[in-house]
């Protein structure tokens, strides 16, 4: 939970995690709301309710959590077009000139959700690299392709 709370702070998110409803399975966190409710059987449970993400070196948010955060007004966001969106989900960083618009103001060292057409693709940090300002790619939904490749 410490890493999750840190990510929420970094994204300037007001999203409230009700810790009494969070369960941990290995390094993964899940929020259990009224539906589906508390599992009557915990043994051999591998996934439960709303998947929030997992502890890695930093917290790796789920696509579901990213979607929830992107609906919040206060969270910092950058909007991009389809071409930039595709490069981002392929793991590329986003040069400042390819950002269509910003919500929350750009400031170096801050974290931003990357939004395409209203959908959240991941997040990154606004940094200077080799004299260029860019959103460094921290996590994106292209991860599904890596995961599919490693489990099929």
């Amino acid at each position: 939970m410490r890493l999750l709370r840190r990510l929420l702070r970094e994204l300037n998110s007001g999203y409230k995690v009700d810790e009494s409803k969070v369960i941990r399975i290995n390094d993964q966190y899940f929020a259990l709301d009224a539906e589906p409710g508390s599992p009557p059987e915990r043994k051999s449970l591998v996934y439960a309710g709303t998947y929030l993400g997992r502890d890695r070196r930093v917290f790796e948010p789920s696509a579901i959590l990213l979607g929830l955060l992107s609906k919040e007004q206060e969270a910092r966001k950058v909007n991009v077009n389809r071409e930039t969106a595709w490069l981002f989900v392929c793991g590329r960083d986003i040069f400042q000139e390819n950002i269509l618009s910003v919500e929350g103001g750009l400031s170096l060292g801050s974290y931003y959700l990357v939004i395409f057409d209203g959908w959240c693709l991941g997040y990154g940090r606004y940094e200077t690299v080799w004299n260029s300002k860019m959103i460094r790619n921290y996590y994106n939904i292209g991860d599904f392709l890596h995961r599919e490749g490693s489990t099929t």
């Binding site: 589906p36 051999s44 309710g49 789920s62 696509a63 599904f144 599919e148 489990t151």
Partner: protein
């Protein structure tokens, strides 16, 4: 049925005896299912059209579309990664559509991996109620987890275990048993080379164990949807006949394309209510073969 119980001619001969003259070269076009948890069909069609993907509504499916043109893989688009649609063969969209789990139901997907039908169940339930999913392969459950996350499913509990034995501490109103089966040659080019009647019989026996467990996990009046993508009657009509003979259950009609279930299998007469099942042969409706039976527990 003497001689080597395997091979192309052997199986095509069986299908001829069941009244279907197949070539063994039938194929199924790629299909997708729109995810109504995330987007309306019309919106997705507009987006996909704008990037050059042609889709045609499959008239017998609620959210299913045949892919008519695409210059790239539909399994790696931004829209796919966002969970706006799933790649799901047309016939395999029928079982959940026939089961119709609804918001507020307690539903179970007994053999969940890789999770396409589980996400479809969640969509019918509108992410409401309790959806349980079980699979015996931990490796394949990773695919289920990825699909649930990608499609935005939040009402599901997933368990690792053998569905024929697992204890879940509750009963259900709707159960999907899309049973592990021998498959068919439409989706597996090597099918004729590797399948034997011994496989079919072993699968049929395993399916009966799963059916029995499903009946235990179903509340009285609850509905079991049994399906396979096998064309073999041992895994389909004969197993459902066994279920009717050994459990307090009766069949409900299944509304979908295809033909009624067989009531005469190689000269053996079955319960006439087997005609309430649905049998889709590979040359029907532009889809792979499938069998669907909807059972209500007494």
């Amino acid at each position: 049925m003497m001689g080597l119980s395997r091979g192309r001619e052997f199986f095509l001969g069986r299908y001829r005896m069941l009244g279907r003259d197949l070539t063994g070269d039938e194929s199924t076009p790629q299909a997708i299912r729109v995810n109504p948890l995330k987007i309306r069909d019309a919106e997705l069609l507009e987006i996909m059209s704008s990037v050059g993907v042609g889709l045609e509504k499959l008239p017998f499916l609620d959210h299913g579309y045949r892919v008519t043109s695409s210059g790239f893989s539909l399994g790696s688009t931004i829209e796919y990664l966002l969970g706006l649609y799933s790649l799901q063969e047309a016939a395999s969209q029928l079982p959940v559509q026939a089961l119709q789990p609804g918001p507020g139901d307690a539903a179970l997907d007994m053999c969940s991996a890789p999770g396409g039908k589980t996400t479809q169940m969640a969509a019918y339930m509108g992410n409401r109620g309790s959806l349980y999913a079980v699979d015996s392969s931990r490796e394949r459950l990773y695919a289920v987890e990825n699909n649930l996350e990608r499609c935005g499913v939040t009402n599901c509990l997933v368990y690792h275990g053998d569905a024929a034995e697992i204890e879940l501490g509750r009963v259900f109103q709707k159960i999907l048993l899309d049973a592990p089966c021998s498959g068919n040659y439409v989706t597996d080019p090597l099918w004729f080379d590797k399948r034997t009647m011994r496989d079919v019989e072993a699968n049929a026996e395993r399916q009966r164990r799963l059916m029995s467990r499903a009946m235990e996990l179903l509340e009285p009046g609850g509905k079991l949807l049994y399906s396979t993508c096998s064309l073999e009657p041992e895994e389909n009509e004969l197993n459902v006949q066994w279920l009717l003979e050994n459990h307090d259950a009766e069949l409900c009609p299944v509304e979908s394309p295809g033909l009624p279930g067989l009531t005469d299998v190689f000269g053996v007469e079955l319960d006439p209510s087997l005609s309430r099942c649905m049998r889709l042969w590979p040359d029907d409706a532009g889809a792979q073969g499938f069998f669907v039976a909807k059972v209500v527990k007494g």
